[in-house]
Assembly symmetry: C2
Homo-oligomer: 314 residues x 2
């Protein structure tokens, strides 16, 4: 049997037939359209699912369930998608609408949670007792898997790691609070810190690589400059690593998972980031002589959303 | 059948026979002695257990297991007590030592965790899907119960809520880090904030109630002055409530339990504290229109340690 995994993004919707080991047998996708009503959006996704099943040489009878990862919040009680701002959905009855076209169980969860689940089934956290997946992107997301099951909390509003308070009365966050963790541990934070630094030290490789325009600084430029030992790049990188290490220790001190997995765009810095984080964490540990979570990079890349969505409800 | 629950404290060790509903049938206790070796400490506890069983009219055959709550850390892999600073224990083989005298299964966990488990079995969080218990005392401790089972993490170092980073680069903590949550949400924090305030505003009810001596300020004085609308007491109380509300929201955003329970000495302020916290939390919630954890006061009081310890391993 196969499951369908659907990864709903702001620009595209990727989906695939996934086998029980988390391997993608066949893929499909459509462009995300926000100019059509919700029911037509879901119909377009359902059509793509049916075409992809047909193109794979299988039939709907070979499909056990459909899983969906959304950049938003799912309300487990109602089975509705509570919020999905990129697509303009609010309290959207996705399951009912999808089942009008394909009569299979439909499971839904947050995209970061789904990526964490993918790593549990087919990636770096395979078979672990407990894992916390951290997406380091424009914001910071989280996925918690305990005993092989997604933990999104009792009300489905958990694993929002990016909005844990990390500096009380600190940097203003889009959510309305101050000092949320994602203001310190995201690509957005790296860019903000780099802009502050280049304002103080204009003669830097960071600014040079951004063509002299602070508005063009991105996280990759900062990390690349840090690799070249540019003082500005290095200062921002070190500060980011120090923040991220303390965020990981916060997760360890609260939930103590077997493994913490770093994913999202910023994690593409690979061993350069991972080695630095692993070196920084021990300083902040509460019990320095006891074992604690190992820290790893996500393995699965862009297919994680499809794989993890297909594994929802397993 | 009964279980034995043992609550190990820095000044006294309380224990009791507890039935399967979490009711204490008979109690005993001894003074904590740190002037004798570990094996004699355990022997004294075992003797008290046996005397308490005998005094209750039962026999060792009526006992299914022994549970122990320690102000420290248990290493689940070895079954040793990794740290218990008050008693001078380090990597202490409590289970083996106890089983020399009483051949029953011995379960151990952190005292805050045990208090949370007691509330799950016989208190305010009875039967909930998931709960986070917060002890607000000299420090801040935590107890996580998920699906009726204690969650202390994979390595047994979790639920250390007091050492989540709450203000990066903030107030120095005894643990060596800066900005730990317990620097903001404990009795110690209340006292520190009050001393800062009375230094600026000497003419306050807080200072008067402390006999004019800032060293004599305690959390109860501050809260009592706040109830009387003393500006200093009120300012510290409001700031504490704002911190605690953000700490609770951090827990909600990460784990999203069904219930958050406030225990420990500071929680004795009762409805005065609870009402203020419940009023402050919504401002900080990420998803203001979705349901989230209810916030309650612990119900069990000083017996929670005995009851929860007896429930370990159930």
């Amino acid at each position: 049997m196969y499951s369908i995994g659907i990864d709903i993004g702001g620009t595209g919707i990727q989906l695939g037939l996934v086998d029980e080991q988390g391997r993608i047998a066949h893929k499909g996708g459509i462009v995300t359209r926000t100019d059509i009503p919700f029911d037509q959006q879901v119909k377009a996704i359902a059509d793509c699912v049916l075409e992809t099943i047909a193109a794979s040489g299988h039939s709907v009878e070979d499909i056990s369930s459909i899983g969906v990862g959304v950049p938003g919040v799912v309300a487990p009680r109602t089975g509705h998608i509570a919020f999905c701002n990129n697509l303009g959905w609010k309290d959207a009855p996705f399951r009912e609408e999808m089942q009008r076209w394909i009569d299979k169980p439909v499971h839904m969860d947050n995209d970061a949670t789904v990526a964490g689940l993918a790593e549990y089934h087919a990636g770096v956290s395979a078979g672990t007792h407990s894992s916390v997946f951290i997406t380091l992107g424009t914001g910071v997301g989280g996925g918690i898997v305990l005993g092989g099951k997604v933990w999104s909390g009792f009300h489905g509003v958990g694993s929002e790691i990016g909005h844990m308070i990390f500096e009380v009365d600190g940097e203003p966050c889009n959510c309305g609070n101050r000092g949320c963790l994602e203001r310190y541990c995201s690509a957005t934070a790296i860019i903000r810190m780099a802009r502050e630094e280049v304002a103080k030290t204009p003669d830097s490789l960071v600014l040079q690589m951004a063509g002299g325009d602070p508005a063009k600084i991105n996280a990759k430029i900062v990390f690349d400059a840090a690799r070249e030992n540019d003082p500005v790049g290095k200062a921002v990188f070190d500060r980011f690593v120090r923040y991220l290490a303390q965020a990981i220790v916060t997760i360890i001190n609260f939930l103590d998972p077997e493994i913490v997995v770093l994913g999202g765009g910023v994690s593409k810095a690979g061993a350069f980031l991972l080695d630095a984080v692993r070196q920084a964490v021990p300083e902040y540990l509460l019990y320095k002589t006891l074992p604690c979570a190992r820290i790893e990079l996500a393995e699965l890349g862009p297919d994680a959303g499809i794989i993890g969505a297909a594994m929802l409800g397993k």
